[in-house]
């Protein structure tokens, strides 16, 4: 934009309109996606993998695809019952982010030699992640805004954010570049969830009890997914406490029972 906007000078309403706009998204992604193809610099070289490493990375990417497809279907479904035009526009930017994540992970699987990614995904996916996805899409079908935002933009996004960050720190250069871009998107999505729910809960504290119950129901599914991915990626010794702690801290920051 030609005029530099100082966010602190904006009213709360104008600030939200600004950060939820297509224009804001466009300027954000132009910064870190410019020059990339399917999420990474095409000049990066592929590293050699052992059979075991390749097998673990394939399983992990298969799980990422399921999570991203769930996020794509949920965020698109939520547009129809978004509480404001600005929220609908933000969710539209999230839809294309989630579609991009699905596309780059599928593309990564193909570059690793997986010919039919969805057949591979079906055989490798963590069943608890599938249950988490199904619960999320149930809330979306019921047009339950608070529960959908909570499960999608807080629980699922916080889960992805912490796993992707930990994985990016200890993987091959191409997967690392892809994950780094994805993490930047997830930060925006979590910000929306926290902001939207935080403000709602100020005006309707009784909703917190219900969301607490949802968190208690879904956290075991998240932890089970974490455990499997941590094991696959060989992060057991050093990574497990950090991943779980980061996730639980995000949930707690919103005042929910971790």
């Amino acid at each position: 934009m030609s005029d530099i906007v100082e966010p602190h000078d904006l009213s709360q309403e104008d600030f939200l309109a600004e950060v939820h706009s297509f224009q804001f998204w466009l300027e954000a992604v132009e910064g870190y996606l410019g020059g990339t193809s399917f999420g990474f610099d095409p000049g990066l070289s592929e590293q050699a993998f052992s059979d075991e490493e390749l097998n673990f990375l394939t399983t992990t990417l298969c799980n990422y695809c399921v999570a991203e497809q769930a996020a794509l279907e949920a965020s698109s479904g939520m547009i129809r019952f978004a509480p404001s035009p600005e929220a609908a526009i933000f969710l539209s930017t999230q839809v294309v982010d989630e579609g991009r994540h699905l596309e780059v992970f599928i593309h990564r699987l193909k570059t690793l030699g997986v010919e039919d990614p969805w057949r591979e995904i079906d055989s490798r996916v963590n069943r608890n992640l599938v249950r988490l996805r199904d619960r999320l899409l149930e809330y979306v079908d019921q047009k339950d805004w608070e529960a959908s935002v909570f499960v999608q933009n807080v629980i699922l996004e916080a889960m992805e954010f912490t796993v992707f960050q930990a994985h990016a720190a200890d993987t091959d250069p191409i997967t690392c570049a892809i994950l780094t871009g994805v993490v930047k998107d997830e930060r925006r999505h979590m910000g929306f969830g926290e902001n939207n729910l935080g403000r709602k809960l100020m005006h309707a504290p009784h909703a917190r009890t219900r969301l607490d119950q949802i968190a208690r129901e879904l956290n075991p599914l998240v932890m089970s997914t974490f455990n499997e991915i941590i094991e696959e990626l060989g992060l057991l010794e050093e990574g497990e406490p950090a991943i779980s702690t980061n996730y639980l801290a995000t949930i707690e920051r919103l005042g929910f029972t971790p």
């Binding site: 224009q23 479904g77 526009i89 539209s92 930017t93 579609g99």
Partner: protein, 291 residues
């Protein structure tokens, strides 16, 4: 199918749209461009510009609801991914046309009441027919309604307004140029993806053609209302036009000189001609609206 859909990937979209023709734009136009004073200082012109822009916001909100709603019932990932890009395109259109309302002086707190006040009821019905199919998770009918009928109509309407704005309102013409480029991609997807699905499900033809017939009925009534409403205004615009301004050609008609009736006729003929061609490409026959 997979090969043609690779042209509709998010990677292709990023390269052609945000990193292509939208680069350096601000709400779809060049930074610093303003609405012309001839509109802002004339109450009648301002109201007409507001009324026209309201129809664009209403149409784009329907397109946003439809494209996002179709993602969950798309039969394959490449279609879901294309619809994700279309969802964001439509959201961008909602945003830039809403911004135009603000540029025309509509206050943010009055946005919804302005939309309710000026929205053509026939356009609202047009959208309802489409969204009923989306709500039923009917992917084939939804894509025909959205990417052939609604987008086909929007494409022609935008081209006509673009032709009439190029000389007198470069800001709005630039805004429309980006949306026209988007709509071209959307129509292309509809034609390519749906042809094979219609072929595989020939029993769906009559139901889908009925939807097209109903949507066409509401569209033609919207056109009729819109052109009748601004008959006197068109005269006024012609009388006050800059004598040095060049022609505003659209489908062989100079919009700078045409009366309201001629404008309606050229738009109607263009849109219906497009419908016939595009529907034939996917194996459907155009049905004229019932009298």
């Amino acid at each position: 199918m997979a090969d043609f859909l690779s042209a509709f990937s998010i990677q292709s979209w990023l390269e052609s749209c945000p990193q292509g023709y939208l680069e350096e734009t601000e709400y779809g136009h060049l930074a610093g461009e303003k609405e012309p004073e001839s509109i802002l200082e004339n109450d009648d012109f301002l109201e007409e510009a507001t009324r026209t822009t309201v129809q664009l916001v209403v149409g784009e909100r329907a397109a946003l609801a439809a494209s996002s709603g179709l993602i969950n019932c798309a039969p394959d990932d490449p279609s879901k991914i294309f619809l994700a890009t279309q969802t964001l395109d439509e959201a961008r259109h909602v945003e830039i046309f809403t911004q135009r309302l603000y540029d025309l002086g509509v206050k943010k707190e009055d946005l919804e009441s302005t939309l309710a006040n000026f929205a053509n009821p026939n356009l609202v019905k047009f959208a309802e027919v489409l969204l009923e199919k989306v709500d039923k998770r009917d992917f084939v009918a939804g894509v025909v309604g959205q990417n052939i009928v609604l987008e086909g109509m929007a494409f022609s309407v935008f081209e006509m307004i673009h032709a009439s704005s190029k000389e007198i309102n470069p800001k709005f013409a630039h805004t429309l140029a980006g949306t026209i480029a988007d709509e071209r991609r959307h129509v292309g997807f509809g034609e390519n993806r749906i042809g094979s699905l219609i072929e595989a499900n020939p029993e769906r033809k009559s139901d889908i053609q009925k939807m097209q017939q109903e949507m066409t009925h509401h569209m033609l009534r919207t056109f009729s209302d819109s052109f009748q409403e601004n008959e006197a205004l068109v005269e006024d615009v012609h009388q006050n036009a800059d004598p040095d301004a060049g022609p505003a050609m659209y489908q062989g008609v100079d919009l700078a000189k045409a009366d309201s009736e001629e404008m309606q006729a050229v738009l109607t003929n263009t849109v219906l001609g497009e419908f016939k061609t595009r529907l034939a490409r996917i194996g459907l026959e155009y049905l004229p609206p019932a009298a």
